[in-house]
């Protein structure tokens, strides 16, 4: 049989790589802005779209889907062709994929600061964009499988298994978590409510980390680390165990985000058990990556690429040890809702993802431009600035996390809280927030150094659009080697591999989610819990729009320190009408689940206008636009209709006469405000009135019962 000559397409790998650098810088600059706002809250300039609650979502989405996302695609488009000895299947699909993904990112950059959000973390984008993501993702999958089908290499290398598992699982997670009924083109309500919504969200959220930030990047590790070290993978056996064990176990671990919440106890325990088991495949993978450098450690001294890879893999090891430890209930009780969690996350994103990406860029770009890196010295400088940046980012956040958590839990001998005012625990850690911003700045400076280096490298070379290679085509009939094992069978069959990966991840989902969705006893109903009034529902949507849940939880855990501070702990039955759930994941400010009735209307009014006037030293931004904006009620009736479809019991009379009911409640709040504050300029149609109605409603149903 004759050898065939063919050409690898470098264009889309290059475009994705450049998009990685551009969006990466933007995403991190937004992160830095948000970090600085926690030190200088006035940095929102009294502007809605510059406010922390909205920027935070933009930062996380940008870092995950724009920075890491583009880098994954760059790595896949480069490695897939070479591992399969064939050109990528469709130039048109590659083009569609690239531009479609950039448009999605652009739409996120526009809609998230506008406050168009579903509030579900890392899935904030509204439904039309969700559909676009699904379409572009499928285009990517088709292009990948088509390429696999026309390959000249019989066996699929382990990196490709990771890419395939990424493709199927992300598709599954994305679709299930974004199931929603639209109210309008820019607003929807998720089909799940309360506890179920929380479980689905964190099944998604945790696996977004697993299957977007981990498995595809592991695929890149299995390709680029052997390349850069010029060594075969340390153990292929280990990589097989690594792959199957990782995708098997990861999918079960989601509930560890919900320990001590109103989620049923059995689901919490299941999440913990599988999280602990995850240490083994994760560390197996880490060791496999590091040991690939056996006999090449001397090269690490010279090569910036290898330095980046070594620290990246080490950070992967650190984060995947820390993750299981954090899912132990006793540790979680301390760490959850504190800055320990962002510290843990950023070891993963800045260390593992970021440094893998930088290593890949420094290795790949000179090759695609047929030149050598402009300056090794600059790359090494980038490495050191970046490493110091990560340390300065993470260490202060660990200190802040421990400090605040201990302050939350400290009691006087007479049984009262030492720091009864939540604010004292915030002002204590503001210096740590400032140090974190320094760490972030250093990391960004490192990226700018890389930018210059990359620019000069590109200038000095010529881009190789098409790269020639040759290989024998596959024979039609493959003769099975004698005594072959079943796994080699699957290594030759991409479609079966995809199906089995899907089966594997579905198993975890089924076992965890099915019982919660169907067994009524898991969510005991509470008779006194009633649906929100139409005004409260509108207020709740403002709460979602402003991203209040980025800083405030709505979940009082059953600890003495929390019930003493906030009141009765939260019950699953209290959230049955919450589409979406708003439990939050971080307490930069206090929990709000029992805030209803705690303060007067006027307190909330003044607090939203100028938080420092009510709580001197507060780092909450001002929300002046809520006082001028009239409440948009165009979709109010439709919102009620959608809620009814979702099983919320509004009467037909209530839906028909919603305006009357809204008017009554708004008038009462406005009258109170006029009574409480002299010369107040408030109209009953102001947005702030709806928000106050919602805040005053929070958590009071159960008080009524008592």
């Amino acid at each position: 049989m004759n050898t065939e000559t063919f050409y690898y397409d470098n264009r889309w790998a290059k475009n994705f790589l450049i998009a990685t650098m551009v969006w990466g810088l933007i995403a991190l600059l937004i992160g830095l802005t948000a970090a600085l706002q926690l030190v200088f809250p006035e940095l929102n300039a009294n502007t809605s779209w510059l406010t922390f609650g909205r920027l935070r979502a933009l930062h996380t989405n940008g870092a995950i889907f724009a920075f890491v996302g583009n880098s994954i695609f760059a790595g896949v488009y480069y490695s897939l062709q070479r591992l399969l000895k064939t050109r990528i299947a469709s130039d048109a699909l590659s083009k569609f994929h690239f531009w479609g993904w950039q448009l999605i990112i652009l739409s996120a950059v526009i809609t998230l600061p506008m406050g168009l959000t579903s509030s579900k973390e890392y899935a904030e984008l509204e439904w039309p964009i969700d559909i676009a993501i699904a379409i572009v993702w499928v285009a990517f999958g088709v292009n990948m499988f088509w390429t696999i089908l026309k390959r000249r290499e019989r066996h699929l290398y382990v990196a490709i298994w990771f890419f395939i598992a990424t493709f199927v699982t992300v598709a599954l997670l994305h679709i299930v978590n974004n199931l929603a009924i639209p109210v309008s083109f820019t607003k929807s309500y998720p089909v799940f409510a309360g506890v179920q919504d929380a479980l689905v969200q964190w099944w998604y959220g945790h696996n977004a980390v697993a299957f977007f930030l981990t498995t595809p990047v592991l695929g890149l590790m299995y390709y680029f680390v052997p390349k850069a070290a010029n060594r075969p993978v340390y153990s292929y056996r280990l990589s097989i165990v690594h792959f199957w064990a990782l995708i098997f176990l990861y999918i079960w671990a989601g509930p560890h985000h919900l320990l001590y919440t109103a989620l049923p106890e059995w689901a919490q325990s299941l999440g913990t058990v599988f999280s602990i088991m995850l240490i083994f495949p994760s560390w197996g993978g880490m060791l496999n990556g590091l040991l690939t450098l056996r006999g090449a450690w001397d090269k690490v001294r010279e090569s910036a690429v290898l330095k980046f890879f070594v620290v990246a893999i080490t950070c992967y090891g650190m984060a995947t040890l820390e993750g299981p430890l954090l899912s132990l209930k006793s540790i979680n009780a301390i760490a959850h809702y504190t800055d320990w969690i962002p510290a843990h996350v950023h070891i993963g994103t800045l260390g593992w993802n970021g440094f893998m990406i930088f290593g890949m860029i420094y290795w790949l770009l000179p090759r695609m431009y047929n030149t050598s890196l402009f300056s090794q010295k600059m790359a090494n400088t980038h490495f050191w600035i970046g490493t110091v940046g990560i340390i300065f980012w993470a260490l202060p956040m660990y200190v802040a996390g421990f400090t605040q958590s201990l302050m939350w839990k400290e009691f006087n001998p007479d049984g009262t809280l030492v720091y009864a005012n939540f604010l004292e625990t915030v002002t204590q850690i503001v210096p740590m927030y400032a140090l974190r911003a320094v760490g972030g700045s250093l990391y960004i400076i490192g990226m700018l150094v890389m930018g210059v280096n990359v620019f000069r490298t590109i200038k000095s070379g010529n881009f190789i659009k098409e790269e020639e290679d040759s290989a024998m085509p596959l024979t039609k009939v493959f003769k099975k080697a004698k005594g072959e094992y079943w796994h080699r069978w699957i290594e030759r069959r991409p479609v079966q591999l995809m199906v089995w990966s899907l089966v594997v991840v579905l198993l975890g989902g089924i076992l965890e989610i099915v019982p919660t969705l169907m067994v009524k006893s898991n969510i005991p109903t509470i008779a006194s819990v009633k649906p929100y009034t139409v005004l409260e529902l509108e207020g709740r949507d403002i709460y979602i729009r402003e991203g209040c849940n980025a800083c405030h939880s709505q979940m009082v855990r059953p600890f003495r320190s929390e019930t003493a501070r906030y009141g009765e702990y939260s019950k699953a039955g209290e959230f049955v009408y919450d589409h979406p759930f708003l439990w939050g994941s971080k307490r930069t400010g206090p929990d709000l689940h029992r805030v209803g009735g705690k303060y007067s209307h006027s307190w909330h009014y003044n607090h939203m206008l100028d938080p420092q006037s009510m709580s001197p030293g507060s780092i909450m931004p001002r929300y002046p636009w809520l006082f001028g904006n009239p409440l948009n009620t165009i979709h109010s009736q439709e919102k009620l209709n959608v809620m009814v479809k979702l099983g919320v019991p509004y009467s037909q009379d209530y839906i028909d006469n919603w305006e009357h009911y809204m008017d009554l409640q708004a008038q009462a709040i406005t009258d109170d405000l006029r009574e409480q504050i002299e010369e107040v300029d408030v109209e009953k149609s102001d947005e702030i009135v709806a928000l106050i109605a919602y805040l005053q409603r929070l958590g009071i149903d159960i008080k009524a019962e008592n």
Binding site: N230, P232, Y236, R237, V241, F248, V503, V514, G647
Partner: protein
């Protein structure tokens, strides 16, 4: 559409078996994989582990290790 997603899985007879079945498949596949890992021959594994490297890179590595 919605009724297939919400509240209606309880209409499936014996759905309680699904989680048990999931668990069994989970362990079976896992054990099978481990059996394979232990039994597979060394030569195949060695060839697979250098798939990321092209011929030149592989030669360079082999020369280095001679």
């Amino acid at each position: 559409m919605l009724k297939f997603i919400k509240h209606h899985m309880d209409s499936i007879d014996g759905i309680g078996l699904y989680p048990v079945l999931s668990f069994l498949i989970f362990f079976t596949v896992f054990i099978l994989m481990l059996v394979y890992i232990i039994a597979v021959d060394k030569k195949t594994m060695k060839a697979r582990s250098s798939m990321a490297l092209n011929n030149n890179e592989l030669k360079a590595f082999e020369n280095e290790n001679q």
